[in-house]
């Protein structure tokens, strides 16, 4: 390490002296600059998020007041909401598209796409991604898939409505549900393009992290954000192609008469010719992506929370190596637990035992991470910036949502709560809400980096945070109860079962909280748009952070650093490090040492 300290050789070939003229199109539309692409991802993701959340409010209204006529249905749903009564098919379409949009378009592309793009080059000290062109293609494929997904809402027979898991035969047969016609075709096309986009992005992230780290930036000096993005990209590359193959086979079953997933079906008065396929095969293929997918969603959030928490606690992240090891352990385990979605699918019960075992193992690295976060804030000097609040909120929902996973991962217990609202409550807390908190934490924290030093208004941020966290628990805590009461999910109304009549007021409470929480997001939206143009400019390194992105130019230039790329001499968590005599910080009066500062004489060397 000290060997680097004297090493100040400038590498000239990194110097970008030339700046070619940029037009509006190359700067804002077909940009190959990672910072612009990250903003494109974020804004597209937020736009999709608005659609997804609006849909959830519509079906929450239906669930709380199934007998009431809402004109808003007719306004927004047209012929499927005639007279203010929601059509049962469109209810299923709403939950399907809500799930698809939130999981893939908001929490995969909007979260990982935004922050991997923004932070990987900036935090590892690179001028841009390994391939700026592929990066641009990746965004535009994502944009195209978003357009197709939104377009599918307007087809004659309605959008895909077989649930976001699109299990065949329901998703394969238009006779079974109208949404499985053109709507489902568009869904599959959109997802196929999405997967291509995700693969191009992931490969780029992996190559960039492996090859473009600046001098001195060893893997063990990487901020945890980068570790998380790196491993996320690997999981994506391993699992997304499997979903692609499943989608391809489903397309063939639907359009070309194959029988991968169909067998012995009598529908609409006739026997189908399909013989020998198995819907369980589809479930295996789907969840081989589907389960890693939830870690694709949550790992970037975990990485960002680790980084933001350490910065704002003015302390190193506790147990850096354990944090990295647990990311790797979670990534590995995530690819061998998919069967816990299928305990009662009809697969061999012995497989159920194996998957219970692997699933509950994942609780161990998750517990290590939670304890390490809690220890990180222990004896800190917590700066309650909005990013920090959302990070603490993340740990809270990750714990409350993760713990119920112990029940769902246990095959014996899963029998009775499978596909009930208990599951809905569990995964919304542990991956939906937690990942959203990670997204918000990242936006509040790195907003100055995205918008040239402008910062989000903190008081609006506090209002946004507090209403959101209270509202989110108000939605999902009661939801566990209706799940344990035996209420299945994806029911258009519960009035067909008088037995569930006493759950009506729980549903009303949930819906009211959902509306309040959604309204709080308007505060964020206003803050976001307003601050983009009129936000106060802060200092270059507003959070007094150690990582390299804050040494880059505030003004966005192609290549990030005007001069040579900084070299790195230490890990990214030297917060509140004291000098050898413990009289003051290593740099007197400054409680952090940025990564590009060489090792000082009065400090002890660490193992990084």
């Amino acid at each position: 390490m000290s060997a680097h300290a004297i090493d100040h050789v400038e590498d000239h070939h990194d110097d970008h002296g030339h700046h070619h003229k940029e037009t509006f199109v190359t700067k804002y539309i077909f940009s190959t600059d990672h910072k612009m692409i990250s903003k494109q991802y974020l804004i597209t993701g937020l736009f999709m998020g608005i659609i997804g959340i609006a849909m959830s409010i519509l079906f929450r209204l239906q669930l709380a007041w199934p007998d009431v006529e809402f004109t808003i249905y007719e306004v927004l749903l047209g012929k499927w909401g005639e007279g203010g009564v929601m059509d049962p098919n469109v209810y299923l379409a709403l939950v399907t598209i809500h799930g698809t949009i939130m999981v893939f378009f908001v929490l995969t592309a909007g979260l990982s796409g935004t922050f991997s793009n923004l932070l990987i080059p900036l935090q590892i000290g690179a001028r841009d991604m390994a391939s700026g062109f592929l990066n641009m293609i990746s965004y535009w494929l994502f944009f195209l898939s978003s357009i197709i997904m939104v377009m599918s809402l307007f087809v004659e027979a309605g959008p895909a409505s077989a649930g976001w898991t699109i299990y065949p035969p329901l998703s394969a047969l238009p006779q079974a549900i109208p949404g499985s016609g053109a709507g489902m075709t568009l869904w599959l096309v959109s997802m196929a393009i999405f997967i291509a986009s995700s693969l191009l992005g992931s490969l780029n992230y992996i190559v960039t992290v492996l090859n473009l780290r600046t001098k001195g930036m060893s893997m063990t000096r990487l901020p945890l954000t980068i570790w998380a993005f790196f491993v996320t990209a690997i999981i994506g590359v391993v699992s997304f192609p499997v979903l692609f193959s499943a989608a391809l086979m489903l397309i063939m079953d639907r359009s070309f008469g194959t029988s991968f997933f169909l067998s012995d079906i009598y529908i609409a008065g006739e026997v189908l010719h399909n013989q020998g396929g198995s819907p369980v095969l589809f479930e295996h293929l789907f969840w081989f992506l589907g389960h890693p997918e939830v870690y694709i969603v949550i790992l970037p959030a975990m990485g960002m929370v680790s980084e933001i928490m350490a910065t704002n606690a003015r302390k190193p992240i506790f147990g850096y190596r354990a944090m990295v090891a647990s990311i790797l352990a979670i990534a590995f385990l995530s690819t061998i637990v998919w069967g816990h979605h299928m305990f009662i699918s009809g697969m061999n019960p012995f497989l159920g035992s194996v998957f219970t075992f692997t699933t509950l193992l994942i609780a161990i690295p998750s517990a290590v991470k939670s304890f390490n976060w809690i220890t990180t804030i222990w004896r800190g000097n917590l700066q309650m910036n909005t990013g920090m609040l959302f990070s603490i909120g993340f740990v809270s929902t990750f714990i409350t949502g993760g713990l119920t996973g112990i029940i769902l991962g246990d095959s014996a217990l899963d029998i009775n709560v499978h596909d009930t609202y208990f599951v809905v409550a569990h995964f919304h807390l542990v991956m939906g809400i937690s990942a959203l908190y990670g997204l918000f934490a990242g936006v509040y924290h790195w907003f100055p980096k995205m918008f040239q030093g402008r910062m989000l208004n903190k008081n609006l941020g506090y209002v946004h945070f507090w209403v959101t966290v209270i509202g989110a628990y108000g939605v999902f805590f009661p939801m566990h109860f209706i799940g344990m009461a035996g209420l299945p999910r994806r029911y258009y109304t519960n009035t067909a079962f008088p037995y569930f009549d006493d759950l009506t007021d729980v549903n009303v409470v949930i819906t009211i909280f959902a509306i309040i929480t959604a309204a709080a997001q308007l505060v964020f939206l206003y803050n976001f748009i307003h601050s983009m143009f009129h936000g106060k400019k802060g200092p270059k390194n507003p959070w007094k952070s150690t990582t390299l992105e804050w040494t880059a130019e505030v003004k966005h230039i192609h290549g990030n650093w005007d001069g040579p790329i900084p070299h790195v001499y230490r890990w990214s968590y030297d917060y509140s490090k004291l000098n050898k005599d413990e009289t003051d910080y290593v740099i007197p009066g400054q409680d952090y040492i940025p990564q590009h500062i060489p090792l000082q004489e009065n400090e002890e060397e660490m193992n990084h």
Partner: protein, 353 residues
């Protein structure tokens, strides 16, 4: 009207928040520190709020339990169901202890170590012993839970011929259920969707000798104390046979036969007398009475009073009427059951008609 009100409430809520933030902003213009970075005052307020948030979480949970304890499922009505319930109980206790403890740490640390000018954070980067402890404790606890869970699971899923089980087929289609009893020979006749024709709705092979005494019904009657093996089939798309009171569920998959087995232990009549159930049904009927008033005022029929029955629900999204795909289950005494089954026509009789 209601829609309008809801929209109005949302708009007013937005306005209120906007105004609140204005007040926030107006109340602090004189401060020299007008940056968007948290100052000691923000740290102080939010530190306290974080502690309050932990307490809010506890309170919310307490209120949920207090208000909605009675919506939860009553005691299990099957033999294996009580095993599941005790495993659930153990897991829940564990979850509550861990959740209570960790959320407390999160809230209290946020308050105790909230940022103050001049406060020095402790440089604490690693501690192998601590990390070992909180790795090994989850390992041990989860090992226990895994073993307990797996024993329960294998026990439940081990479908075998011990104790002279009765074979019943559950047949799912959009959007209803049928049950096929195997009759006196306790063997189901062969069936295939290609044989569906007219009254032979389940596609049973009429030439199979085993099929002759099969009995197809649309209300499931089970004798108490007799082990039942359910063989599930689906005609069109995936369905899931969910019987929450028996802690039983299995998907019905077109192209294959899935199975689940349990022994009912409480008859419908006994369950109706169960204290919890009596209270629950009373509550439901009060709600229904209230709702009926509104219906009658509109000129509609009032709702019928509710009487408890076990039910079979579809629990895998299967199309427009997924929400209403149900079958009544009645658990009889063996005598009642024998009398009921005698009344039902066999397949041979039904096809002859």
């Amino acid at each position: 009207m209601t829609a309008f009100l809801v929209v109005l409430v949302i708009i007013l809520f937005g306005v209120a928040i906007w105004q609140m933030s204005k007040i926030f902003q107006l109340s602090q213009p004189k401060q020299t520190d007008s940056s968007e970075i948290a100052n000691d005052k923000d740290n102080n307020i939010n530190g306290w709020l974080m502690m309050g948030f932990t307490i809010f979480t506890y309170l919310l949970l307490a209120i949920c339990f207090w208000k909605w304890w009675d919506v939860l499922l009553p005691e299990a009505a099957s033999e294996h169901g009580s095993e599941i319930d005790s495993l659930m109980y153990v897991s829940m206790v564990l979850i509550f202890v861990v959740g209570f403890f960790t959320l407390w740490l999160l809230g209290s640390f946020s308050l105790k170590y909230r940022g103050r000018e001049g406060q020095r954070a402790t440089f604490f980067a690693d501690n192998d012993k601590l990390e070992f402890i909180w790795t090994i404790i989850p390992v041990i606890v989860l090992a226990g839970l895994i073993i307990y869970g797996l024993f329960t699971w294998t026990d439940i899923m081990n479908v075998n011929d011990e104790d002279d089980p009765m074979i019943v087929e559950l047949y799912a289609y959009q959007f209803d259920w049928r049950a096929r009893y195997s009759g006196e020979d306790n063997t189901l006749g062969e069936a295939n969707v290609r044989l569906i024709e007219g009254v032979n709705q389940l596609g049973v092979d009429a030439s199979d000798p085993n099929a002759q005494d099969d009995i197809v019904v649309n209300e499931l009657h089970l004798p108490v104390g007799r082990k039942i093996i359910f063989k599930m089939r689906s005609q069109d798309v995936l369905h899931s046979a969910y019987m929450p009171h028996f802690r039983a569920q299995m998907n019905c998959v077109p192209g294959m036969i899935t199975q689940f087995s349990f022994t009912p232990t409480i008859t419908t009549a006994e369950m109706r007398m169960n204290d919890e159930m009596v209270a629950k049904v009373r509550k439901i009927n009060n709600i229904r009475k209230e709702n009926s008033k509104a219906l009658v005022a509109k000129g509609d029929e009032p709702l019928e009073p509710y009487e408890f029955d076990y039910m079979l629900l579809c629990n895998k999204i299967c199309g427009a009427s997924h929400y209403n795909m149900q079958m009544k289950i009645v658990v009889d005494t063996p005598e009642e059951y024998a009398a009921w089954i005698k009344e039902q026509p066999t397949l041979a009789e039904a096809l002859k008609k």
